[in-house]
Amino acid sequence: MTTGNLRDLYQQVILERYKKPKFRGVTAPVHRHQRGHNPSCGDTIELTVQLDGTGDRIEEVRFEGEGCAIAMASADLMAEAMRGKTTAEALDMVQRFQTMMQGKAEFSTEHRKLNVMQGVSQFPVRIKCATLTWHTLKAALEASTQPTEFVSNE
């Protein structure tokens, strides 16, 4: 029953990150805070971001929320990949991730871990699950220090 496609979608790394996320929680201190919501399924995500002294480099990203394996693993892998990135680099990666979901790009060696999410592009109805956390990060980084309203990926 578990065909090749499913194995591509639910790679071991994804299942492991779903089960044992490394970046669940809230950063201390919180410099950016953003909630995201997927109205069609009810999944939610709450991101907090800690920046360095310049205010332009990410020290840490953490997430809370409830969602499917794809959404949660995507958030955890994203949080890991964001450590030490400048805002501009982070926004570039958001863009790249979205392009990867269309099956048109992948990450280079430094971030190849993120490529485990590539299988999602074969399941168009699940792309929203994977991108929710990335949309939310983009909103967090583009917002002022005040948390904004919910972002929704619809």
Partner: protein, 420 residues
């Protein structure tokens, strides 16, 4: 005996649904999302085709032959729907796009012109968004207050609490007949009796009952009843409102336009008689005619037979699901004979998210729904972020339930160990 009956009903009807005869990811399709929308039999597709190939014209607007044929067929469909729900008069059936539009019609026409600040509207926590949002909008505009009936321990409509909410302030009770998430069958007849004692009107959301059981609006004594064609073998884009004649007569129009008028001047108009007063503009003629065909199709099988067959499937479904200890199934358990609830099951499976379940089941050809099924407040009430739902119709079989349950077990195992 029941087994023979079951085999005959699905075996008899499946050839009428060509869509069911296909493979998904190499597996035979098992369509278990009937609460979202049902499949359409050939008889309904043929009615659409016949209309567009032979009779297409606008209704009530011409004296030529095609217009008269189209009008006869359209009004004939109204007769069929009126007979199907046992309305006292054909004028009590208003065609709408769907149940949501029918509810909005009652809201904008009746509630907006009737409700006063402090009046109370009683709903329940299990309502579909379609039977919540219009009333929230009316409450904002009129100053009426919303109240919500909660659930009993068995996750059914709390009738005692309902009675305690009623007072002379209650002007409207709007409740679902069969919950699309819990599958419970609400005591709508008794609800009408109690509501009428305090002079309140009752609207029944019958989206999940009309397709599955015989409905008699006169016996229920409800003031309005709404349903969507697409859940009862008809196309999308057509639904209906039943309303008691005197009440509909007293209500102002909902939308203005052609079709709903008697006499139009530049500065004012008089309105058409029922039901046309509520059908502004060219209606969904082909879809209405196809709804008539769907009603005829269902009546030929017999609603009591459909209901009995679905009870048998329900019994089997719940027996099979009971073999999966990880499941939490919402709503009441069926009685030993499968009666007492709808042929659907909303559930969560341990730590496996419903979206993941649905994707894995889809690979096995099994179509189920995952999400909040347009009952977000109910999910919040149940403290479930989302659920998976399998919902059956008379063309489903025990064998399909077996495929579904096996795929569900595989999916849980696939994620397994993860949460062990």
């Amino acid at each position: 005996m029941t087994i023979i009956q079951e085999k005959t009903l699905s075996a008899r009807t499946r050839p009428d649904f060509p869509i069911l005869n296909q493979t998904i990811h190499g597996q035979p399709l098992v369509y278990l999302d009937n609460a979202a929308t049902s499949q359409k039999p050939i008889a309904v597709l043929e009615a659409l085709r016949q209309y567009y190939e032979h009779d297409n014209a606008n209704v009530h607007r011409g004296v030529h032959t095609l217009s008269s044929r189209a009008t006869d067929a359209y009004e004939g469909a109204r007769d069929q729907v009126a007979a199907f729900v046992k309305a006292a008069s054909r004028q009590e059936i208003v065609f709408t796009r769907n149940a949501s539009e029918a509810i909005n019609l009652v809201a904008y026409s009746w509630a907006l012109s009737t409700l006063k600040p402090g009046d109370e509207i009683v709903l329940s926590v299990m309502e579909h968004h379609s039977n919540l949002v219009p009333w929230q909008m009316m409450a904002q505009r009129t100053g009426a207050v919303l109240q919500h009936v909660e659930l009993t321990e068995t996750e059914e409509f709390d009738f005692e609490q309902f009675k305690s909410l009623l007072s002379e302030k209650t002007k409207l009770v709007a409740v679902v007949h069969v919950s699309n998430t819990l599958g419970c069958i609400n005591p709508v007849k008794e609800i009408c009796v109690e509501a009428h004692k305090v002079g309140a009107r009752v609207l029944i959301d019958a989206c999940q009952s009309v397709p599955h059981m015989a409905i008699d609006v006169q016996e229920l004594d409800c003031d309005w009843l709404v349903a969507s064609g697409h859940k009862m073998c008809a196309p999308t884009g057509i639904g209906f409102l039943y309303g008691k004649l005197d009440l509909l007569r007293s209500q102002p129009p909902f939308m203005g336009g052609g079709e709903m008028i008697a006499d139009v001047f530049l500065d004012h108009s008089t309105y058409a008689d029922l039901p046309h007063k509520f059908e502004a503009g060219t209606p969904a003629i082909g879809e209405a005619i196809a709804l008539g065909a769907a009603v005829e199709y269902l009546s030929k099988i017999g609603m009591d037979q459909i209901h009995a067959y679905e009870e048998d499937l329900t019994r089997y479904l719940f027996r099979q699901l009971a073999t999966i200890p990880e499941l939490r199934i919402y709503g009441p358990k069926p009685n030993a004979d499968g009666s007492g609830r709808a042929a659907l099951a909303s559930f969560t499976a341990g730590g496996v998210h419903p979206h993941d379940l649905s994707t894995i089941l889809d690979q096995a050809g099994v179509a189920i729904r995952a999400g909040h099924h347009c009952t977000q407040p109910l999910h919040r009430y149940l403290k479930a972020q989302s659920t998976a739902r399998a919902s059956l119709y008379f063309y489903n079989t025990r064998e399909e339930i077996d495929v579904f349950v096996a795929a569900l077990k595989d999916a849980i195992e696939f994620f397994g160990g993860l949460f062990g």
